[in-house]
Amino acid sequence: MVKFDIQNLNAWFGSKHVLKNINMKIEENTVTAIIGPSGCGKTTLLRCLNRMHELIPGARVSGKVIFNGVNIYDNSVDPVMVRRKIGMVFQKPNPFPMMSIYDNVAVGLKLNGIRDKRVLDAAVKRSLELANLWDEVKDELNKSGASLSGGQQQRLCIARALAVEPEVLLMDEPCSALDPISTAKIEELIRKLAKDYTIIIVTHNVQQAARVSDFTAFLYLGELIEYGPTRQIFENPQNELTERYLTGKFG
């Protein structure tokens, strides 16, 4: 089933045209990697999918992003509801600094009106288990989220995003601030989550794209150059630019 159908998507920062006529379909419960050199619009494309792009002053979008059959840019759609269905993990781990591990995970539910302690407890446990963090933190849920290591903080952020039960997880270079061991843990986690979630991951690390994704999109200067099954993109790229990027001729 198609989860996202992106049609003629354009994005601007002020007068700078950063995404040019993007068309792509993203399948449910797959991992799609977006790769490309710095400044090619990877992160912008990702942030257009949960309407985070428009938060930046001067940012503008045109085109359609059809999610579960509904264009999320339709006037009748509330961006807050979009973001509840489409979670996001950021480049740098950003747990809420004044909150405990428990509250970091529970806060999304609490602020959406859920007060029942049993429901919250269950959601916290489930989300931390999903994020492969439960065993490491179950005895110190009241400690500050900021006291964890970088890799643990990033998994905490994944748990926080999962707690509000999204259908999609957008990941913006989630491992770029992490060491190789933490990176391996996150990648393993991405594969596990792909069974139940649609995951779109921006990465500047092509090996990572090859390791974790089912589909790969290559962006260059705001244009979608090539998009297809990861295997095909890596083994038999159709476009010369793609091949040159993947073989490290530029980046």
Binding site: L55, G87, M88, M98, M99, V107, G108
Partner: protein, 275 residues
């Protein structure tokens, strides 16, 4: 070699200048604290804390009514000033680019620079003239002094909350106003509490606006439309009186006022560093 020597001498010279300025800056501070402490300590005994202002000719007496009055005035002022300042600070940081914000910010800066006695006159015109010399008028004047301090510290504190924290909350599908009043305020709360405490320390010692809007009062609290006694005013009135025990009480009042402000400032420090 000469060059290095010259540099060494310049370095030492500047260092001595810095230490000298430091000592110069501390001389008035320490002499005030020393003087007030030495003279004030003799005024302090049990009566000082439990008895009200003595009538003329009466021996002993205390400033219990002034402590009560000061606390009531500060409390009322905070009740008005803190919410208003907090909310304007939130407005300024969340809608910092709007034209209205620029105007409000400018007006707050002007307000922060207005001499406090002018604010006292304002409170007199607005409140004293309709309900009389009263604690309400004094609290209003002090609140007006507090508002720009609380507003600007709240704004600055909220602006220091990293965008990444706000984005994390927005990406969870939390409406923007909830992000502000929960996530952003809780991340900035130490700095905001510090700002509030410092604004309280600032108004605790104000005397001019109180003199204009409420006046001097020697008795206990008698209702919101009546004046209350005040420590800072005690210092002013008692010190100029010809009665020896009133002069002693003035020193005592000065001492506990300084101690109060000191405690608030230390609390503010502690909140900022630990919390």
């Amino acid at each position: 070699m000469d060059y290095h020597k010259l540099r060494f001498i310049k370095d030492r010279l500047m260092q001595s200048l810095v230490y000298l300025s430091l000592i110069l800056a501390f001389i008035p501070l320490f002499s005030i604290i020393y003087e007030v402490f030495v003279r004030g300590v003799s005024a302090i005994n049990v009566d000082f804390f439990i008895k009200p202002t003595p009538t003329v000719g009466e021996v002993g007496g205390g400033v219990a009514n002034a402590i009560q009055g000061t606390l009531i005035t500060i409390g009322l002022a905070s009740l008005i000033g803190v919410p208003v300042g907090l909310m304007s600070g939130i407005f300024l940081s969340e809608y910092s680019e709007s034209r209205l914000s620029m105007i409000i910010r400018f007006l707050h800066d002007v307000l922060g620079g207005v001499p406090s006695i002018v604010i006292g006159v304002f409170a007199y015109a607005l409140i004293t003239r309709s309900i009389g010399f009263s604690v309400t008028a004094a609290a209003f004047a002090l609140a007006v002094i507090m508002i720009p301090i609380v507003t600007r510290t709240t704004e600055e504190a909220l602006k220091l909350v990293p965008m990444s924290i706000r984005e994390a909350a927005i990406a969870l599908g939390i409406p923007r106003w909830k992000v502000t009043i929960t996530i952003a305020l809780s991340s900035a709360r130490k700095a905001i509490i510090t700002g509030i405490l410092l604004s309280i320390a600032r108004i605790a010692g104000e005397s001019a606006p109180i003199l204009v809007s409420m006046g001097f009062w020697r008795w206990w609290f008698a209702g919101l439309n009546r004046p209350v006694a005040n420590l800072a005013l005690n210092i002013f009135i008692f010190a100029m009186s010809p009665f020896k025990n009133w002069v002693t009480l003035a020193w005592g009042s000065a001492l506990i006022l300084i101690i109060m402000v000191l405690i608030i400032s230390v609390l503010a420090r502690i909140t900022l560093t630990r919390g």
